[in-house]
Symmetry: C2
Subunit: 294 residues, 2 copies
């Protein structure tokens, strides 16, 4: 089976490599052609194409992995977009995080032209993209989901069918908002422990072994304690996901007040210039100011 | 070694039984004497005493496990309190959650009378008390900590020395506040998923396998989804712990805004009459009101 893979960033290049390793024929396109050439040099079954439209021309499945909805829209539906030359019945799988309404709109436009569509955002950062152990949350028909499964399994350890088109996005942005709130809570807890003169290591050990345990405690407690944040997921990307969740919730008339609190903290971090750092750096926005006169 | 154990409630009775099983001689006291008699009937090395003072008379260690600071104060320092007849050098261990300032005040009063003191609150509900797998967070001197360790190991799987007197409380109330915020976040996420028409089971599966994972997701996501809350830890008790944390943080001039949000949700739950239910019932306070005219 031939797959067109569009978008070879930190995540996409690793995902495409796993498809190649698992025996899929790939036609790839990337705005910076060097990334595409590197992949083709490493994998004989990878072919570099000159445009998204060209990449899709003889593919059964077209995968996109880019930053946001406008990019997906341009690469699929734009002047040189993949939909232009794709064969009828081609299945489009977008792995970007674009929000629920945008995924539904793109899916509807593709359906009008006779194409299938799945929104299939991922969780897990570049090490898991590298290992092929990403988690995919997939929205779309059962038929399309089953058609996509072999390709998704080449890139991920867990593939969850979340419902019709858009629900992959819904589950993704809600889940990431929970992550953002848990991280903000952890940061505030570390600062309270410091303020009370408590032993932060004892607190971390207790949280890990008790009801306060979380993936955020495992991944971010030590970086927050040490104020040293290896970048696994950028603060600005987390801010984007939380906003997509809040917009969707607002549109549906439901509230997510704690995600709203996390948004404000992340927003403050972004304004402080921490947007390209790991989101654990949000603790910096909560620290007592030492640069102000009393 | 003889231990006086004061307070045989749901937790205390199970903790005392584990001390007896591990070969400690016990003198026990409980306001409702039937609980003490039951324990003595099941364990030949348990003796029932007529007052806290009486229980402490020939003990090397006095353990209290009750509801709050005023109770601890009365049982140790009141008219028939354990301090009245305890031998010089007796080590008092309070396993209740009483707050940092109260633990420090009680510790200081006992020290004036020549006694040692550890604040050693626990985490883990009655099944872990039963199995002897509680987690103890201990504040006090290293010497007292080492002296207490064999007894604590008979009741717990993990014993963390958190610093001087009061720091066991600090770590406990901060950790429980993180639990409370994580639970509130989870409840809001479940309600957002429902509001968006997303698949709550898919969301739970994704959270469990991704960065949003937490002990709260493991323990409370299904009860919240089903609106069926087996009581492991009462909502009013969680509210108490969060308030103790907020009071201590306020006193130290640090903030814990997300714990403040959780406090308001728990307070609303208590006012709705959910105080004796498991704290997962806090989701009820967040649900869209269906009993009001539009």
């Amino acid at each position: 089976m031939r797959i067109a893979f569009i978008g070879l960033g930190i995540m996409g290049s690793r995902m495409a490599a796993n498809l190649a390793r698992n025996g899929f024929e790939l036609t790839v396109w990337n705005r910076t052609v060097e990334r595409a050439n590197e992949l083709a040099a490493a994998h004989p079954q990878v072919r570099v194409s000159s445009s998204p439209a060209d990449a899709a021309a003889d593919a059964e499945i077209v995968i996109t992995m880019v930053v946001d909805g406008p990019q997906v829209r341009e690469l699929l539906l734009g002047e040189e977009g993949a939909a232009l030359r794709a064969a009828p019945g081609t299945l489009f799988i977008d792995c970007s995080t674009v929000g629920i309404a945008e995924a539904q709109a793109i899916g509807a436009e593709l359906a009008e032209r006779g194409f299938g569509f799945l929104d299939a955002p991922v969780t897990g950062s570049s090490p898991r993209a590298q290992d092929g152990t990403l988690l995919f949350m997939v929205g779309g028909s059962t038929e399309d989901f089953e058609r996509a499964t072999p390709a998704l399994q080449a890139m991920g350890a867990k593939i969850v069918h979340a419902g019709p088109v858009g629900q992959g996005q819904a589950v993704k942005v809600i889940s990431n908002s929970v992550t953002a709130v848990n991280a903000t809570t952890l940061a505030q807890a570390v600062l309270v422990a410091e303020g009370l003169g408590a032993d932060v290591n004892a607190l971390i050990e207790v949280m890990r072994n008790g009801s306060a345990g979380s993936t955020m405690v495992e991944l971010k407690a030590a970086p927050m304690r040490d104020r040293n944040f290896p970048t696994l997921f950028k603060l600005d990307h987390m801010l984007k996901d939380v906003r997509l969740c809040l917009e969707a919730a607002h549109g549906a008339g439901v509230e997510f007040p704690l995600a709203g609190e996390a948004e404000q903290v992340l927003q403050a971090g972004s304004e402080m210039g921490l947007g390209d750092e790991d989101f654990a750096a949000l603790i910096r926005t909560l620290e007592p100011r030492t640069d102000l006169a009393p």
